[in-house]
Structures are given as C-alpha cells and as structure tokens.
Symmetry: C2
Subunit: 404 residues, 2 copies
C-alpha cells in the first residue's frame, strides 16, 4: 500500500486499505452528504470531487449513496482509484484537506435507500445449533440445507443505522408451561451477528445473475445485527417462517466497505458436499476472511469467523435470482448468523447460552441468558487487507429500550 | 347515489360508487399521470384539479400516487368528495370534460412505489387445504393459526402491474421419486387469488397501530395474484418459509379502490374461536364482501368469496405492527389466497386440482393441473356499493411465458 500524506495511525481504523463509504452530517440543520472514512476523518466526497473537478462529481455529490450504487462497477473502480490517488499524492493535499471533517463530530445516517432485504441462513454451525434447539426431535439440518442457500425476505422499513435504540418488541408467545399463548414484551430478546451486502447494479426480471457476476452487481459489505425475539419467533414461524420475531428492527453499520477492498480477504469456502448444482458454482472463491467480534456492555462474548460460512454471498446472489427475480439498486442481503465450530464463536445468545440454559457470566458479575433492558450490543469486524494491512468494518451498535 | 352528467352505463365498470385511482399514460413518450377511472374514461386528475383550482392540486398532479398516499385520510376524503361533486354537478362539466381520456387507449402503470410487501394466510379453507396437501400426516392448521394472522415478507421488487408477462421460474425441486433435487423450469406453476391493501399514512417504529385505526392508515384496496411455484416452494420452504417459489412475480390490478368506497361492503367476519387477544379486536367490523372471479384462458374456474376470510385486513395491520414495526407509505399487505368452503371457491390450482390429482376440465376440451406456457389468468372482483350499486375492482391479468 502507498502511504498517505495524512498522518494515519497504522493501528487505527480506516487506513487506505478500507476507504469505506457512508453518509454523514455535521449538525442538525445540515444536509447529509456522502463521505469516506479515512483515519480519524471523514472526507466530504462531493466537496473534494468538486474541488478536484472529478468526472464522477455528480454521482457522489449527493445526500445518499444511491446514485453511486446505481453507477456500476467501472465508476466504483474509478472513484476508489481517485480516492487513493488524492490521499497519497501530496500534490492533492491542499485541495483535499479543506474537505476533511473530524470523524468524532459527525452524525452517521443510513447510507442508502434499502430496496428489498433478504436474510440467509448460511452457517452450518448456526443452522445445526438452531435445529437442535428448536426441533430437538428431528435432524438438525433440514434435507434442503446443503443443496441450496436457504433464505427469506425480511422487513426493509425497519433497517436502521448503528446507534439507533431498539425498543423491546411485544407480541404473542407460547411458553411450554401454558396451554395457550400469552401476550407481552419478549422475554427472549437476542441478536444475530451477520454480514450484509448491498446491490448496486440491478438485473432485469426473468434473468438470472451468475455466481461469477457477484462483483459486477454487489457494491459493498457491512455488518448487520438481525435483532431476534426468540419467543415471538418460536410461536409464529411454522409454516411460513420468521415474521414479527425479526421485523421490529435490523441494525446496520454505517460504513459500506467496497467489494474491491476485500481482494486480500478472499479465501476458499469450506468444502461443500454434495457438490452444489452448476448454477451455484463459480470459478473464483468468494469465501471472505472477516473476523467478527460481539461485545455486550463492553465485554467480548463471541468471535464469529465469517470464513467458515458454508454458502458464500456470491452463491446467495445466484440463488436469489435463479428463478428470474430481479435485483434493484439498494437490495440488501445478509449472510445469516455467523457462528463457528467453537462455543466462543457463536453469533447469537440463543446459541451462546444454549437457549438460556447456560447463561453467560459477564466480567461485571452479572449473568445473561438473553438481552435485558439497557443492554448494549456492539459488533465489529476486520479482514486482511493488502501488504499486511487490515480492512476495518467499523461497528454496528444498538441499545435495548424497555417495551412500550 | 347522485347521477353523473356523464352518460355512464349502470352495468359497466367504474360508476361513481368506485372512483378508483391509478396511473396512466397516453403514449410511449408521455409522462405517467394520476388518473381516476369513471365509466369508459380516465379522468386526468392533475389536469382537472388545475382547471378547477383544487386545493389538493399539488398532491395529485404527479407521476404516481405516492404523494396522495402520504397525504392522509383528510386529504383522501377531500379529493373523493371533490371528484363526486365534479362528476355530478353539471356546472363543472365544461371544466372537467377536457380532462377525460378514453380508457381503452391508455397504458396503466404500477400506481405507487411499493415499500415493504407482506403476504398473509388468512383463509381458513385455504390454510386447511394446503395443510392437508403439504403435510398430510399432521393437523392441517398449525397450533398458532387461530391465535394470530400468519404472515411473511415477500419481494417488493417483483410486484408488477396487471398485463405484465410472467416468465416461468426455474430452480430446484425434489420430486418424491428422486433421491436428490433436480434443476429446471417449475412444473407446478400456480396462482393465488388475493386482495391487496396499500398503506398511506406511516407509523413510527416502536409504536403499534390499533385495529380501529385501519382507515386512517390504509388508503385503498386492489387485486393481487401471488404467482406460486409449488415445486420450488415445497422443496425450499422448511424452515424459513416461501422464498423463490413466490419471489419471481406478484401481479397487482392497476386501479386502487379507496377504503371509503367500501362502506357498503363491510360485513361481520366469520366467528372467531378462540376469541382473539385484545390487540386483535376492534369496535367495527372489517370483513369485506368482495366476490372474486378467476378466469383461465377466458373460462371461469373459481369464485372465491372474500367475506369468508377468517382474519380481516384491520387485524392483519394491527398484528403486523404489534411488535413495534413501523409502517411506510407504500407498504403493501395481501390477504393470502382467498378460498371458500366449496370446491368452486378455491383461489389456487393447488386446491382446485387437489395438488394436480384432479385436473380441471376446461370447456375448450383441455385439462389443467397447473399452468402451461401461454396460459392467461385474469382475476376480477366486485363488492356492494351504496344504493344497490356495484364497486368494481377491474382486473389483474398475466400470461405465462416459457422458461428462459
């Protein structure tokens, strides 16, 4: 990696290996703008592009990433190259510097308009754990699980940016000890640590997207917390899947890491047996070596390894469109809970506490089966960048407010 | 009902009792505009509002219904009152007449931007039939079915307007005779005759919408065909629900009938046992006496009675938000397949042909288990209007194209 004329702390977040995109504002009355995180700064991308008379100025001088997402891979590459050039060549320093804002002072927004939201279920460890817990009398993996990446549509309208408080949901649940369902606040409120992907380039209805076309359609990657009410979910989900147990809130990290930043993070996915059908095979590996960390009230409770996911995002994209479903700019799809083989690698409290039967003991002396009011969950991640650098994903954080 | 100065055929579609909203264009190069169907005409609502200097002109002089949807119940009532006045008082005839377009010449568009799409499962007859077919060794209704309106999120991006061709989807299915899934075009392609609802007034995250608030939030009603691939669905839907079996296309009728047009169609819903929880109870009935008709290649194959639905749209709205999920302008929710107790009242071929075992014999001498390439399905509906009039819903039509 070339050096920046900016004095970047090599151990801090957001070196030149990442250059993630987001949307920020600097005060309550200022319009949100597209920004790029670099070190302790946010670069006002529209402002810098205007100052440097960049050909893509009109694409990025916007209140959201929507126009950049729709612009497609050649423009994404052009913007990323320009950013690297501007931040490394001292000749640009005078023009760029006035457009750097102190990152600690900005407010971050949901960076794009979410179109559809699909959530997958791609960790074999997670699906096996959940199968054992929810359906103890059956095989943990359903017969379809290794043939296709199972997914379902979630609620786009309740996708919120990191830092948004989450009100504990209320609804029906049926405790095993009761003859009929009861009504009230969820008592088994959980997280799901996931990785999200956002589509930039759309595809027409009736046509499918190949596994190898993943980088032409997907703009970037972020972290996602699929808040889940296990008691609402357990009562409602047969036969049509999760609904209110998930739809109250889904939090996303504010910085979208471009797919181009993840070249060094690409790894072979775990061996797949049976061999997937041809439409689920590609020529290059799309496993991604992201290391996630889940913290509850400041204490690390899990380190889920994304490289262990059975199905890749490229396979998920191909599956999602194999029936001719179109893609729109802003479509989000998420990996499903990231859980690894070890107890300390599970991406949900359902698994970490084995459905509440083995509460976590926190260093502050308290115990947790599921989330309590006031609890804050923060998920972070890093991935290998070029030349020993690290790609940073920032964080997705949320605090639980009492039920209303 | 007062008479119109327009010479409306009392037996034709779209008398003054309906006055549905849509979006039309008059040529390939003209901008879509909000229109109102009345008899054989479309009233250019923006044009008429400008000519008559209506206070809501800016709300309706638009390329979609989005702004009108967001304007809320008082404006919806104001526009509907004005329309009735303009079309009945001869004093307005000269100002209105120039803004009437021959309905047979217009192209109709998807009338609003779809936000989230939720599909329910509210017919006891349908759910019982499907349970018997898909899970013959179990109770047909799952234990939760009579306690809550079961629903799931569908794909918003593939909601298309009536008349859009539907490409036969391709994907994985597992014939019972095969040891492993096979890949190819769906061989059990089906419809679901449903009624759709569109939200106008949003609600904030963390708060719920009461059953009685239904007419404050829901703008209007239309017909919906939830095209379904039964073979894709059967293989994929456990445990997270339908996904690719539904996401390739969902067709909607182009004319949105205002909730205000359905006062005379309101009926008591079927008795509910057990009594629903308080959050699912309202003070006024929201059963709706719509009579649907399903035609295959011109032949009537079913007459599903919407008044027989176990759960009402008002209960569905309350359920959908009881966990604090917000509503957005443009959210669509659909009833689920409308099936009545009689064989000729079933809203899907899955039920009409009992999973293909009892093919339908059509008057043209052919038989149908599921849909063949080239088949056209048209769903229409009427409901009682005031003073013996009929409210018309127009139609949702679609033709099957061969798999690509």
């Amino acid at each position: 990696m070339p050096d920046s004329w900016l004095d970047l702390d090599p151990d801090a977040q957001f070196g030149l290996a990442t250059l993630p995109y987001g949307v920020f504002s600097t005060g309550p009355d200022t319009e949100p703008r597209v920004g790029v995180a670099v070190g302790g700064h946010v670069l006002d991308l529209g402002g810098a592009s205007r100052a440097l008379d960049a050909p893509f100025t009109d694409t990025v001088d916007r209140p959201s990433l929507d126009t950049l997402l729709a612009a497609g891979r050649p423009v994404w590459d052009q913007v990323r190259s320009a950013l690297t050039r501007w931040l490394t060549d001292p000749a640009h320093a005078d023009a760029v510097r006035p457009h750097l804002v102190d990152r600690s002072t900005v407010r971050l927004h949901l960076p794009f308009t979410v179109a559809d939201y699909v959530d997958f279920y791609a960790s074999e460890y997670h699906a096996t754990n959940v199968g054992r817990i929810f359906r103890p009398d059956q095989e943990p993996l359903t017969p379809n699980w290794k043939h296709l990446p199972i997914g379902y549509h979630g609620r786009s309208g309740t996708i919120v940016v990191s830092g948004t408080d989450v009100v504990r949901p209320t609804g029906q649940r049926k405790p095993p000890t009761e003859p009929a369902p009861v009504f009230g606040p969820s008592v088994r409120l959980d997280i799901e640590a996931e990785v999200g992907f956002v589509v930039g380039t759309p595809s027409p209805m009736g046509e499918r997207v190949e596994v190898d076309s993943f980088p032409d359609h997907v703009f970037g990657v972020f972290l996602l917390n699929d808040w889940s009410s296990r008691d609402l979910q357990a009562w409602e989900y047969v036969p049509l899947g999760p609904f209110l147990g998930k739809s109250f809130a889904t939090s996303v990290s504010p910085w979208v890491v471009p797919v181009a930043a993840l070249e060094a993070a690409r790894v072979e996915q775990p061996a797949q047996d049976p061999e997937p059908m041809p439409y689920l095979r590609g020529t290059r590996p799309w496993g991604l070596d992201l290391c996630l960390e889940v913290r509850l009230n400041g204490h690390v409770v899990s380190n889920p390894p994304f490289a262990q996911m059975y199905w890749t995002a490229a396979q998920q994209l191909a599956h999602m469109t194999v029936n001719g479903a179109s893609l729109r700019t802003g479509d989000v799809f998420a990996s499903g809970t990231v859980s690894g083989p070890e107890a300390g690698q599970r991406g949900s409290f359902l698994e970490l506490t084995w459905s509440g039967k083995e509460p976590l003991r926190l260093p502050d002396g308290t115990e947790r089966a599921f989330l309590e009011d006031g609890d804050e969950v923060v998920i972070t991640a890093t991935a290998p960048g070029p030349d020993g650098t690290l790609v940073h994903f920032g964080e997705v954080a949320g605090r639980i407010l009492p039920a209303r």
